[in-house]
Subunit: 112 residues, 4 copies
């Protein structure tokens, strides 16, 4: 069984959120989860839903702020042990290439 | 101005979704966006909201299926040109380390 | 075909967001969609994905702010014309009761 | 303090999900939360984050299926006791009208 999720915890503040987001990421270290942060959140992998939600709760509570916005998307496969990275591998096998581009949106080089 | 988003397009099917997800990712190539797929979706960068939503529409339409579930989270900074990767850099600068772990959740090595 | 979605558009500001959220809701009126706002967003119904995304784009652009956070979840049934309200009716038919409670969380009356 | 959230729990199955969604809604009754289901999920109100996440965990576990997709969006106001319905009231006060329309998208009457 694999529980894979994307977690985004953000204080509703007008300054940079990086310091508070770092506290949320740090809080994950106390839990039996694998995680990797990307520009829109942190992909978390756990072996069961309770472990995932305990980590989510601590990450949410680690962020200071009068108002905190948390978004969580869970993909829970109960009959498969597919690791998170294997989900991307499967898409790239279908694509026949890496699932990414390095184009710089809105710059001259898009016309090349 | 930077529009950064996470897009997940999935057909509601009981088989593997990888083939359909690959079509959605492929459809992004026709648009002036930068993108990178992770286990929970694809981070997309565009220079304006209309370009982003045009790419999202084509990715959604590229997926075949009687029922399609699409989730989109947009972080639109109108007064900053911060690239998507710089968001992760800022968090890692606060953490003082990479925002990831390689622990294998639910295995013996967690006791090390 | 029915495209049903939940849209949340919010400026990242520390004051009340109600005024800006109202502008986003108002912007939906220029589009051929049905909508109803709830405490966590606005449920929108459209007959096709392009109509939905055009409405989403205008709602997002209607909100002023240096940073705007938009979340969109789409449930697109391509072979059914089920109206949004019928989704709740189907759940309530299974429940055998309304899918709601009026309990006041965290107050004395929970012990009754 | 008010924790308001939108929860969507869905089995990834090609048949109707209503029966399983009803189980998720039913599971909320064992928790000190107020909730109301709408076409895109269930708005849940709790007095603290732990109570909310305990309810979310039970709702997720109540749904049978090899693969379960759960989306949770939390709006946590730590210095306010605003009830969920007051969020909609505030938007409608700004709008000067109910935040809804009864238009039937994609039908003739849109020309009226």
């Amino acid at each position: 069984m694999t529980v894979i999720a994307l977690l985004s915890v953000a204080p509703v503040i007008e300054d940079s959120m990086a310091g508070e987001v770092a506290k949320a990421v740090d809080a994950l270290d106390d839990h039996d989860v694998r995680y990797e942060t990307n520009p829109m959140g942190t992909v978390i992998e756990a072996s069961d839903i309770d472990t995932l939600l305990a980590a989510v709760g601590d990450a949410h509570k680690a962020v200071d702020g009068d108002r905190v916005s948390t978004v969580l998307k869970i993909d829970h496969k109960r009959t498969s042990d597919q690791a998170a990275t294997e989900k991307v591998d499967a898409v790239e096998a279908e694509l026949g290439r890496p699932a990414k581009t390095d184009r710089s949106p809105g710059t001259d080089d898009e016309s090349l």
